[in-house]
Amino acid sequence: MMQQAVRQAEQSDDELVARIAARDHAAMRLVADGHAQLVWRVAYRMLGDATEAEDVAQESLLKLWNHADRWQPGGAGIAPWLKKVTVNQCLDRLRRKRFFSDEDVPEREDEAPLADRYVEAVETGQAVKDCIEALPDRQRAAVILTYYEEQPNQVAAESLEMQLKAFESLLFRARASLRGCVERKGVVGRAG
């Protein structure tokens, strides 16, 4: 892994995508190893489901494989592009799920083993997860991109294909809702 990271860092995103466009499986494996965690993280926080998050993550990376020939060099890079594609796919999936079924997304058991010392933190995390899932889709994406993925507002707005002012308004409402939800859950003082 370490060697792959070094090799990825040595090659620019444009060169990697050019190789992927040339159907270089090694280059694709290099990108997948380097960005899979990012894509998975965004998808999981957006969807709250590990299985669906993996599907979305794989589809996002496959999009890069399929459309590498249309890559325009000199852009923001692979990571922002993958985040944007992942967020949009998550929004599509949420919208589709709401269209086909108005039932709540069934909560799955956390597959991670719970240790006593992590119980409290896990409960807090679950409460925050519930609050994030309670947000509207685009507000959820705005919070995830700006807070968890640390994207600037401008980049996040472009990912959601919004004007900056509109995105900032959306983000303001998302933060207020999330703050109120977390405070109502009573987990503020427990964390840490």
Partner: protein
Amino acid sequence: MMAEPAFSPEIEKALDAYAAPPLPTGFSERLMARIASGDTGFVDAAAYMPLPRARKSSPWRRTSRIIGSVAIFSLATATAAAAGFFGDPVYVPGVSEALVEAKIVDAPKPVATPKVRTVAEAKPVKPVMAQPQATGSAAIVNRVTDLRNDPAFAKLTPRERLAVTGKEVRQMVSSGEATRQDVRTAVRELARDADPTAREAWRKTAAERREKRLERRERTAAIAEPQSVTEPQAIDSEPAIATTDAPPTIESAKLAPDTAEAIRENIRNATPEQRAALRNALRERRQLRQQRRTQ
């Protein structure tokens, strides 16, 4: 984690507690296996693009193209003409102007509404006086004046003029337009207004006629001395003045004493038949005189 402190530290701690689980193991291998197997979910649009058919444009499409082409051409030429591209802009009257000029039917004629007048506003109507028609002596004077103004009348001899005038006056009397008294009055007016020479001529003529009448009366009395009881000489049988231009002269009803005595003697010596005839003649004359007076 965030560039700008949007949340309080406590909230940030709570949000950080929501950590994404680690990437499932074998993620990259599964991904590469899908790529190797060709299960990339990519659909080559070009491969599934239907081949362009050798289409024959349908009538609807052809018609729409023609109509569209005509509309675009019309719009373009109208715009170019209005912009003066072809020279001076063509003046195209608008619909409203055409409607203003349009004359579909004749405009209704203005109906004169009767003006209601109050009694106070109404002007008093002056009674139209009929032109008074000349009657009586004036009619005779007018008629004689008209005859005198007639050139054909002027060409006649005095005797002929007198005859014509007398005829006209007699017709007026017989038709009832004038009476004999009117005739006398008219003669006096005409004589008064006549010039001195004409008046002198009339007097002379009247004097001559009077002399003739007296002579004729004396002669008649002398001839019909025995038979004169049936025709009293004191009564003038001729019309007084109707046929003369001279002023009327009324015969004196008084007889000379010897004439009256001779008449009485004749009546005393007359037979009863002669006396009856005389009475009848006198009655007729009396009646005739009365009729003249009434007229």
